[in-house]
């Protein structure tokens, strides 16, 4: 339609430069138009006859416009545009050959649609004007001769890499344009800025042709599942599973978590509207120590177009270590005994306790040796930082020296340990904490008065956030969990505290008559975490419930595990890509600290990688230039399967520290082939339009790709010639003149002055 009225395609106008070819200067045109307008005005004024009011002005305007149009045409308007010279330029045609292009839509696959479009005249038309090079794109670009060589079997799509490769292939040749036929389902997260920048540097327009439905009609696709990379054996794991659904709004589905085929958790979810991102919370037990590969899936729906994108896998290193938690208690209390008992059953926690039995005597339990706490509470970083968590019971702030108070703060801040404060008659507001440096660690503000501790029954009231917390999850189903908490025996006592600090999370309040106060509160502090449990009366949950009931044990184990979940060792290895979906390069990052958890920069960090089919490798990591104590490396996992990298740190030459004292860590990652193409299968039109726009190309749908050959010629890249295209004979010009004249006639007729 555009070309019918304007003679040339829109590309000509968007890319070309408007010029007036007439010999006379433009100001004469402007002056002529002004003179004609004035003349017409004078003429109409004198001979206005029966025209009254605004009518002469309307006639004058129409006549002036017509005269201006004629004068404009006399100045010879034209478009000057660069055009690729015939047969002197190359056009690279890149065809997405990945598995997502094999998706069948309306009887034909996307790839068949692309091939048909090319073979039905587009390729011939291109070949008439250019030298055409065909490429198939999967993980990389491969040159092909015919579209018959396309298979639609590539396990991944790297559009950016493919284009760069095709550009490199023609770096010494006059490349006029790139044509990219794809569904835009890129597995590398899109075409990055560097790639676009490289294409723009060569001024090569990328014309994109999109295939596939832009919206699927019936599908559920999991886009992500976040789960901690490491945890302790038997720990309760929380995962957030994000997915979108189409065509199932309001319907119920099952979210299932599996470990090696064994169902760990099942949860019913109600699907939201089409395309609305939805995140559901799942909790399950990590089980015994080892490398775990958890699968998260959405099941129970019928008629899905693509069922292969309903599950994702995540790796978790369930550690066999038994981190130690130090518990200091200021006086013998039942809470102390029952916390100890609750943790005794935990295979992955070890509690070391210091109890002040008398004014001058402490009783230590669970220590490595009798002399470990000869001097009482640790006063050096090396001694305290050997623990992952710290529980401070009914201990006055002044019991700790100023140095110990600073040490406790650093324990959370620098070491990344977890600190839990309990309620008691000589702690918090009643123990001098409001004016102590330790107040900074608390997730609540403390009341500036005494007598905040009450030996009166209090009810545990779970908050909305508490319902989703792994600490308070006693039952798999959230509703049943909330019901169970309501039936819990009352606490023996409670302590009033002030408002929660910004960023703190209140998991439960205590209710005592009309009084309500934060009871269980957590917050992140520095590299660690702090928490408050403002009571010493949870032992009643154990004594007032049948011996078979494990609520008390479960609560304390979950609370303490969560407390130290961010507490890592001196060597922390990580990767942003624990699951390599149809890719092979894994970035490894290791953070190294000394015994006082200060960063270590002068060590040698090695990763011994063991993979499938006997793959082994030793990788040396290099210090990151901008981060002290951080070492990085990129390693290529050649084969699909699970990999374990044991990271060791070797001391600098001449250091006295033994190798085993430097710390070590285990990193796990997994390469999965043939899965990436199952996700994000709808046409990514946004990406294709953006790519075309940023490179000076144009986006085409499959239907209008036949116009491609005509429009592709207008390019600044390659060998070009500049053409001038007349505009005076565009049909729209004559239509406009006719319309102006007709309007005047119609108006005159209406007013009866013809």
């Amino acid at each position: 339609m555009f070309e019918f009225f304007f003679k040339y395609p829109a590309t000509v106008f968007s890319k070309g430069q408007f010029v007036l070819l007439g010999a006379w200067p433009v100001w004469i045109l402007a002056a002529s138009i002004a003179a004609v307008a004035a003349g017409l005005g004078w003429h109409l004024w004198r001979r206005r006859g029966f025209l009254t009011g605004a009518r002469p002005a309307a006639i004058w305007l129409l006549q002036t416009l017509l005269a201006a149009l004629v004068l404009f045409l006399l100045w010879h308007p034209a478009i000057s545009i660069a055009t690729l010279r015939p047969q002197q330029n190359i056009v690279s045609v890149l065809i997405d050959d990945s598995r997502s292009m094999s998706i069948n839509e309306d009887g034909t696959t996307r790839l068949q649609q692309a091939s048909k479009g090319l073979n039905d005249g587009v390729l011939d038309a291109l070949r008439k004007r250019f030298q055409v090079r065909l490429y198939r794109i999967g993980k990389e670009a491969t040159r092909i001769d015919k579209t018959d060589q396309l298979t639609g079997s590539a396990t991944a799509t790297r559009l950016g890499d493919g284009m760069i490769q095709a550009l490199a292939d023609t770096s010494t040749l006059p490349l006029g344009a790139v044509v990219l036929l794809t569904d835009g389902a890129d597995n590398s997260g899109g075409v990055d800025r560097d790639t676009i920048s490289q294409i723009r540097q060569r001024q090569i327009p990328v014309h994109t042709v999109g295939f596939g439905k832009e919206k699927v009609t019936k599908d559920v696709e999991i886009s992500d599942a976040t789960v901690p990379a490491r945890t302790l054996a038997d720990a309760r794991l929380a995962a957030d599973v994000t997915f979108r659904s189409f065509g199932y709004a309001g319907q119920k589905a099952k979210m299932v978590v599996r470990d090696a085929g064994k169902v760990l958790a099942t949860q019913e979810v109600t699907l939201k509207g089409d395309g609305v991102p939805q995140t559901e919370h799942a909790q399950f037990n990590a089980g015994i120590a080892g490398a775990k590969s958890y699968q998260f899936s959405i099941e129970g729906l019928t008629g899905e177009e693509n069922a292969a994108n309903n599950a994702v896998t995540r790796l978790v290193n369930v550690e066999s270590t038994k981190p130690r938690i130090l518990y200091i208690e200021g006086e013998p209390r039942w809470e102390f005994k029952f916390i100890r008992r609750a943790v005794e059953d935990d295979r992955s926690l070890r509690l070391v306790t210091i109890l002040r039995t008398t004014q001058n005597k402490i009783y230590v339990q669970g220590a490595d040796n009798e002399k470990e706490f000869e001097a009482g509470f640790p006063s050096t970083a090396e001694q305290l930082f050997a623990f992952s968590g710290l529980i401070i019971g009914d201990v006055q702030a002044t019991y700790f020296t100023a140095a110990q108070q600073d040490l406790i703060r650093e324990f959370a801040n620098r070491r990344g340990g977890g600190v839990l404060f309990l309620g008691g008659r000589e702690t918090l507001s009643d123990g001098g904490y409001p004016r102590s440096p330790l107040a900074e660690l608390l997730p609540v503000r403390l009341l500036e008065r005494k007598d905040t501790f009450h030996r009166d029954p209090g009810t545990f009231d779970l908050s909305a956030l508490g319902r989703d917390s792994v600490i308070c999850r006693l039952e798999e189903k959230p509703d049943r969990n909330a019901e169970r908490w309501k039936k819990m025996p009352v606490l023996a006592d409670y302590q009033e505290v002030g408002e929660p600090k910004p960023g703190a999370v209140v998991l439960a309040d205590v209710m005592a008559g009309k009084r309500r106060s934060p009871l269980l509160v957590t917050q992140n502090y520095g590299r660690g975490r702090t928490a408050l449990f403002a009571t010493s009366g949870s032992w009643r949950w154990q004594m007032l419930q049948p011996v078979e009931d494990k609520t008390h044990e479960m609560f304390w184990q979950q609370l303490l595990r969560c407390l130290i979940s961010d507490s890592s060792g001196r060597v922390i290895s990580s990767t942003p890509k624990p699951v390599l979906a149809d890719e092979s390069c894994v970035p490894i990052r290791v953070e190294v600290r000394d015994k006082t958890f200060k960063t270590l920069s002068n060590v040698r960090v090695m990763a011994h990688v063991v993979g499938p089919e006997g793959v082994t490798a030793d990788v040396e990591l290099n210090p990151a230039p901008l981060e002290e104590g951080v070492y990085t490396a990129d390693w290529t996992a050649e084969k699909p399967g699970s990999y374990t990298a044991e990271v060791t740190v070797q001391p600098p030459d001449g250091a006295k520290e033994k190798l085993e004292d430097m710390g070590r860590d285990v990193l796990m990652f997994r390469r999965e082939d043939g899965v990436a193409e199952n996700f994000r299968v709808a046409q990514n039109r946004e990406l294709l339009e953006k790519l075309a726009e940023q490179t000076g190309g144009r986006y085409y749908t499959a239907k209008d790709m036949s116009k491609l050959a005509d429009q592709i010629s207008y390019s600044e890249a390659g060998i070009t010639t500049r053409e001038t295209k007349d505009l005076w004979d565009m049909p729209i010009v004559f239509l406009l003149a006719l319309m102006l004249r007709s309007m005047e006639w119609l108006l005159r007729r209406k007013w009866g002055v013809v």
């Binding site: 102390f336 339990q365 154990q542």
Partner: protein, 266 residues
């Protein structure tokens, strides 16, 4: 023999009996100990809410001298004096007044440490045994004291074997934490009751050898601490008497305190 000849003999027998009774009553005055001297007024802070209180177990039994149940023996003077020691010698937040608990209701579960005196006379019902077992398995602690000899042991075990038919009563090893949690109690002696005054002997009945026995749970923690052939209750009760030897009182206090702290740490 006619009635007139029998009358003087009856009178004589009655006089002899009366004399004997008066003589026995007179003897009482010579004893330096008197149960009636127990505290009759509640301490001023009796209502204080504390972490720990001396919880005395009320149990069914015969009547002690036809009056009160055996569970009342030494009460409340023994515990009132003992808790003063607990307050002074430890950091346990202790109530000055005792608590009487029973196996007839669930209040007992709020008192994880209980004391039973004279269990050689207890007659626990099946329901009592069931509740005591549940109490102990949940984490409760029972200290028994002041029973002596074979006969009382058998009575004690008749009920206790119903509580724990599957668990043995064993001697506590000297190395056990219960003897070291606060005080080291490696060298222990038999703590006598006041019936042994002036303490030329320290045992009652055939209970010549003192025993510190226990029933352990599956994780090796003491649930029932059995002080057999000894009377710590009297040692607490008469701690204020110059006539009761200090060494016995001292050991009884240390034993009691160790047992409490053990129950609050294990």
């Amino acid at each position: 023999m006619d009635k007139r000849s029998r009358f003087p003999k009856i009178i004589l027998a009655a006089l002899v009996a009366t004399f004997c009774c008066l003589a026995m009553y007179a003897q009482r005055g010579y004893m330096p100990f008197n149960d009636d001297e127990g505290p009759s007024i509640l301490p001023k802070d009796a209502a204080e809410k504390t972490e720990w209180a001396f919880a005395r177990l009320m149990y069914p039994s015969g009547r002690f001298f036809g009056q009160q149940g055996y569970w009342t023996i030494d009460a409340p003077k023994a515990e009132r004096q003992f808790v003063q020691g607990v307050r002074r010698l430890t950091r346990i937040h202790t109530r000055s007044k005792e608590e009487f608990v029973s196996l007839e209701n669930d209040e007992i579960f709020k008192w994880p440490w209980i004391y039973a005196v004279e269990p050689g006379h207890w007659l626990l019902t099946d329901e009592n045994c069931k509740k005591l077992r549940e109490y102990l398995l949940r984490g409760g602690f029972l200290m028994t004291d002041d029973f002596h000899g074979t006969e009382e042991w058998e009575v004690f075990m008749e009920s206790m074997s119903k509580v724990f038919p599957d668990k043995a009563v064993v001697e506590i090893d000297n190395a056990d934490a219960i003897f070291h949690v606060l005080y080291d109690l490696d060298d222990r002696v038999q703590v006598p009751g006041i019936v042994n005054y002036p303490f030329h002997q320290t045992h009652e009945k055939d209970g010549r050898v003192p025993h510190w026995r226990a029933i352990y749970d599956d994780r090796g923690r003491i649930m029932v601490a059995i002080c057999f052939n000894q009377d710590n209750g009297d040692a607490w009760e008469w701690a204020d008497s110059p006539h009761y030897p200090e060494k016995y009182t001292s050991q009884a206090y240390r034993t009691g305190i160790n047992y409490i702290i053990y129950s609050m740490t294990h």
